[in-house]
Amino acid sequence: MEHTWDFSSILASRDLLLVGLGNTIRLGVLCLVVGLTAGLFVGAARYSRNRLINWPATAFIEVFRNTPALVQIMWFFFAFPIISPFQIDAFTAATLGLSLNTTAFCAEVYRGGIQSIHKGQWEAAKAIGMSYSQQMRRIILPQAIARMIPAFMNRAVELMKMTSLASVIAFGELMHQAKAISTYNFNPIETYTVVALIFFIMIYPMAMVVQRVELHLRRSDQ
C-alpha cells in the first residue's frame, strides 16, 4: 500500500502540540523536583538504624518500585478520590503517582551514593567533632552527589517518558494531544511519528549527557 505522507494537518495543529509539550514539561519538571527533594528524606530514613523509621521507608520504596507506574497513576485517579479529603483532577493524580514513583527511585539513588562513600570519611568527620547532620551535610553528601548525578539524570529520562502515561487519564500532555489530533484528522501515521520525534529530540540529548558524565566519572575514579 502506498501512503502519501502529509504533514500539513500536523502543522495546522501545532498549537495543540505546543500546549501538550508545555504540559509534558510542566508535569516532568514538577515531579522531578518533588522526587529529588522527597527522595533525600526517604533515602535517609531508609538508611536509618531505627526500625520505626527504616521499615516504613523501605516499604514505601519497594511498593513504588515494584508496581507499574500506570497502575499508580490510575490508582490515584480512580481509587484515591474515594478516601481523599480533597478533589483530585487528572493533573493532581498524575503528579502524585509520578512524584511518589520518582521519590522511591531517587531514595535508592541517594542511599547507594551515601553507602559508596568510604567509612573513613564518617570516622574522620566524627573525630574532629562534627555531629551526624554536619558529617552528612559537609562531608558525605558533597562527595556522594557527584557520583549520583548520572543515576539522577537517568531518572529524569525515565520520568519524561513516563509523563506520557498521564494521557491514559486524559491529562492534556503531548500524547493526549496526539490522540486528539489523530482522531480529528484521521492521520495517526503522521501524528504519532511526529510525537515520537518530539519525545526523541527532547530525551535523547539527556541520555547522551548521561553517557558522557558516566564515562567521565569512571575515568576520574580510576
Binding site: M1, H3, E62, V63, R65, N66, T67, P68, A69, L70, V71, Q72, M74, W75, F78, A79, F80, I82, I83, P85, V157, K161, M162, T163, S164, L165, S167, V168, M175, A178, K179, S182, P188, I189, Y192, T193, V195, A196, F199, F200, I203, Y204, A207, R218
Partner: protein, 226 residues
C-alpha cells in the same frame, strides 16, 4: 473518613483478575522470547567495526530507548496497519512493540556485558587461533552472561511493568481487567489496590533476587560498571 472497605466484591471476581494476570505474563514472556535474541543480535551489530552497520543500529537502539513505549505502541497499533495494509490486533501489536522496545534495552545489557570483559581474553583466544565468532561464543559470552544477569532481570521487571500499556489498546491484561471490574462494581479502591498487590507479588521477589545477585557479584569483583 468513614469509608467501608469491602474486598468481598473483588474476591468474587478474582478469577477475572487472574485471567488478566495470565495475559500479562503471556505478553511479557513472548516479548522476552523475541526481545532477547533480537537484543543480542543488535548488540553484536552495534559492536561491529563497520560504521555502516554500527551507526544505523545505534540510532535505532537509541530511538527505542528514548521514546515513550506508549507512543511506540500507538504507532504500531494505529499507524502501521494503515501504512502496510496488514490488519493487526491488540495482542500482535503489543507483542511486536514490546519485543522491539525491550530488545533495544537488552542490546545495551548485552553490550555492557561484552565490553566489560577484558581485552586480554579476546587476544588470548585469537592467539590460539579462534575466529571472532568462536571467541564470542566460547570465551566472551559465557563470562559476560553471568555479569549481565542483574541488569537483565532489572529489564524483565521494567518490561512487565511496561506491559500495562496494552490495556490502553484494549488487550485484556491485569490492569484492563481491574479497570473493568472497578467500573462494574463501583469499587475502584479495592480493585486497583488488589491489582497493584498482584503486580507487587510477582515483581518484588525478582527485585530481591537482583539485589542479592548484585551484592554477590560486587563481592567477587564482577560488575559491568553500570
Amino acid at each position: 473518613m468513614g469509608y467501608e472497605w469491602d474486598f468481598g466484591i473483588v474476591l468474587r471476581d478474582f478469577d477475572v483478575l487472574l485471567l488478566g494476570l495470565v495475559n500479562t505474563l503471556k505478553i511479557t514472556i513472548l516479548a522476552l522470547l523475541f526481545g532477547v535474541p533480537l537484543g543480542l543480535g543488535a548488540a553484536l551489530l552495534r559492536l561491529s567495526s563497520n560504521p555502516a552497520v554500527r551507526i544505523p543500529v545505534g540510532i535505532l537502539i537509541e530511538f527505542f530507548r528514548s521514546t515513550p513505549p506508549i507512543v511506540q505502541l500507538f504507532w504500531f497499533f494505529f499507524a502501521l496497519p494503515l501504512l502496510t495494509g496488514i490488519e493487526i490486533d491488540p495482542f500482535r501489536a503489543s507483542v511486536l512493540t514490546f519485543s522491539i522496545q525491550s530488545s533495544a534495552f537488552f542490546a545495551e545489557v548485552f553490550r555492557g556485558g561484552i565490553v566489560s570483559i577484558e581485552r586480554g581474553q579476546w587476544e588470548a583466544a585469537k592467539a590460539i587461533g579462534m575466529a571472532r565468532n568462536q571467541t564470542l561464543r566460547r570465551i566472551i559470552l559465557p563470562q559476560a552472561v553471568k555479569r549481565m544477569i542483574p541488569a537483565f532481570l532489572e529489564r524483565v521487571i521494567e518490561l512487565m511493568k511496561t506491559t500495562t500499556l496494552v490495556a490502553t489498546v484494549s488487550y485484556a491484561d491485569l490492569l484492563y481487567q481491574a479497570n473493568n471490574i472497578a467500573q462494574s462494581t463501583y469499587r475502584p479502591l479495592e480493585v486497583f489496590t488488589i491489582a497493584a498487590l498482584m503486580y507487587f507479588a510477582i515483581l518484588f521477589p525478582i527485585s530481591m533476587t537482583v539485589r542479592r545477585l548484585e551484592r554477590h557479584l560486587a563481592r567477587t569483583g564482577e560488575t559491568t560498571a553500570h
